[in-house]
């Protein structure tokens, strides 16, 4: 189960990277950022899972999973959301200048 999770996380990360590299639409780029971030987060959360673990809440019955990655992930989710919000705000701004979100048509800064 852990290996499945790792594999999915890596696959998702790579899809995000591929989206950023290949798509010419600025919205797609931002979507790629979100997907990439989720992949990295899934990897971290999976790192804390142990077989048959219970959530890290007192009182616990049985062995708890590792709570440290949960704290990391919480922080990282909020950071990712802020990144995305700022990126979208800038996309709106760029769109107001060029009236398009197609990277190929945005050629203000050359070379």
């Amino acid at each position: 189960m852990i290996k499945i999770s790792y594999a999915t996380a890596i696959f998702v990360f790579c899809i995000g990277l591929y989206t950023i590299l290949s798509k010419r639409n600025l919205f797609k780029t931002v979507i790629g950022l979100t997907i990439m971030e989720s992949g990295a987060l899934m990897l971290i959360v999976t790192a804390g899972y142990v077989h048959g673990g219970v959530p890290p809440l007192i009182p616990m019955e049985g062995q708890a999973v590792n709570p440290l990655p949960h704290a990391f992930t919480l922080t990282a989710i909020v950071i990712g959301a802020s990144d995305v919000a700022l990126a979208l705000a800038l996309v709106i701004k760029v769109h107001r200048r060029y009236k398009t979100v197609d990277l190929d048509k945005i050629r203000g800064l050359k070379e």
């Binding site: 990126a87 760029v94 203000g108």
Partner: protein, 487 residues
């Protein structure tokens, strides 16, 4: 205590400024210079506490293994001093030009300074990522601060590239966490050599790619010239002088601490990246007609110099890299301030339109000349000294190719800076006849004087030995681990 305050004071300044703005703007006029000065002094004090022994600050009173710890050693001290001076100059320049009107700029500026100190001080990989993100977001915003379309577009480009870099760093941290179940940098450094080779390579690649993206080394450089040339002058000076150096610091810290023993081939990769960015940056710079773009590409090349120094992986190499970082902060901030001010005054950034500028703006052009001579590496100036030590370090390590690239790069940079200067000194007409205001001239003069002084100091004082000590201390990871974990 002082380490904590160096982060908390600018941070709370950033929280207070909107309140001051909303409820009585006289307070803002009164407190803003105090805040700027306080941040400057506290950063310098934190830097001073790190020289000599390791200075530590434990958050929440937890030991380093459990909580987050701030560590100041020689390496972070030098970079803290660099950040203090660069931020101070940029703050002064902006304050002189704009006053207290654009208060949002100051909020973002103080957030940048607080998080920068955080990155330089922290001893925890995830904490570094968090501070790094504040710092990067603030940098993207400062780039697009002027809200011209170039600035917004450059900001978006910078944001996308920087965020991809940040996620690579996060991925590297995730791998490190999977392998060791901790993210304290000292604990990680202790357990890295036992890690499987495949994992180690993945972590190394993620970190190098992430930090190179953030620093703008050659294959990942394409956002840097746009961002650094589209921003307003104060921000350009800040970005080229300080922001890039923080990424360099993280690269040095991570590569030495984690891969110094475990995977030494990382340093070869860093050297190759350095040589590539040196040659690429200089070649691109020599083709530019826009003076700020020229300076921005020159920054790419100078990052190459610093990375070659890091890639040597020896005490001399690290010392030369650190020394060159400091010098580059002085030179490039000064160049951006002078060139940016000149370009603002004559309302063009095209080099060809600046013919005869010397005869109308003597002070600024003279300062520019000194700084340009320093960055090319004319002998008694600081640029020459650090480049000399870089060559010495690479010859010591027997990587003659790197040394050759260093020399060759200097020749190219001489060619294009001479092109700019010859335009400045050719007689020409058509500029309004008012000299720049005094404070800006004073900043420019101060920076060029520092360049001369730092170039002469190694002849009279053991300042170079100081840097070598910083380098050898940074290389000594055992001491670092012991100092952090055993307290």
């Amino acid at each position: 205590m002082i380490l904590t305050l160096a982060v908390i004071f600018p941070l709370s300044s950033a929280f207070v400024i909107p309140l001051l703005h909303l409820y009585g703007s006289r307070g803002l006029r009164l407190f803003l210079p105090i805040m700027g000065l306080g941040a400057f002094v506290l950063t310098l004090a934190a830097a001073a506490s790190g020289f000599g022994d390791y200075a530590l600050a434990f958050f929440g009173g937890w030991p380093a293994r459990l909580g987050v710890v701030f560590v100041a050693d020689g390496l972070s001290s030098v970079f803290l001093a660099l950040a203090a001076f660069g931020c101070g100059a940029s703050f002064l320049y902006f304050y002189e030009q704009m006053g207290t009107g654009p208060w949002r700029f100051y909020v973002i500026f103080f957030l940048l300074q607080a998080s920068m100190n955080g990155v330089l001080l922290t001893g925890d990989l995830f904490n570094m990522f968090v501070f790094y993100e504040i710092f990067s977001l603030a940098a993207y915003l400062l780039v697009s601060y002027s809200l011209t379309w170039q600035a917004v577009e450059a900001g978006l480009k910078y944001l996308v590239m920087g965020t991809v870099g940040a996620f690579f760093i996060l991925l590297g941290a995730a791998y490190a966490f999977i392998a060791t179940k901790t993210l304290n940098m000292a604990a990680l450094a202790a357990s890295f050599p036992q890690m499987p080779k495949a994992t180690l390579i993945v972590i190394a690649a993620c970190m190098v790619v992430g930090f190179s993206l953030k620093a703008g080394a050659f294959p990942f450089h394409f956002w840097l010239p746009d961002a650094h040339s589209s921003a307003i002058t104060a921000v350009s000076a800040l970005l080229s002088g300080v922001v890039v150096k923080v990424s360099i610091y993280s690269l040095i810290r991570v590569s030495l601490l984690f891969f110094g023993d475990a995977l030494p081939s990382v340093f070869d990769v860093i050297t190759v990246l350095g040589v590539l960015s040196l040659l690429g940056g200089h070649l691109m710079a020599s083709r530019q007609q826009d003076i700020k773009r020229l300076l921005a590409y020159s920054t790419v090349a100078q990052i190459g110099y610093i990375m070659i120094g890091v890639g040597m992986g020896t005490a001399t190499g690290i010392a030369a890299a650190v020394f060159h970082s400091f010098n580059h902060m002085l030179m490039k901030s000064g160049l951006f301030i002078t060139a940016g001010r000149l370009a603002e005054e004559i309302k063009t950034r095209n080099i060809q339109d600046m013919k005869g500028l010397y005869y109308h703006r003597r002070g600024m052009v003279l300062a520019f000349t000194v700084l340009a001579a320093a960055i090319v590496g004319v002998p008694p100036l600081n640029g020459f000294m650090s480049k000399w030590y870089l060559v010495v370090a690479s010859v010591e390590k027997r990587s003659f190719l790197a040394a050759l690239a260093l020399v060759f790069g200097t020749v190219i940079s001489a060619s294009y800076y001479i092109r700019v200067l010859s335009v400045f000194y050719t007689p020409g007409e058509g500029f309004s006849e008012h000299e720049s205001r005094r404070p800006v001239l004073a900043i420019a003069a101060l920076f060029s004087a520092c360049c001369v002084v730092l170039g002469l100091l190694p002849f009279f004082t053991p300042i170079w030995e100081l840097f070598v000590e910083v380098g050898s201390k940074a290389l000594n990871t055992k001491d670092y681990i012991a100092a952090v974990l055993l307290k």
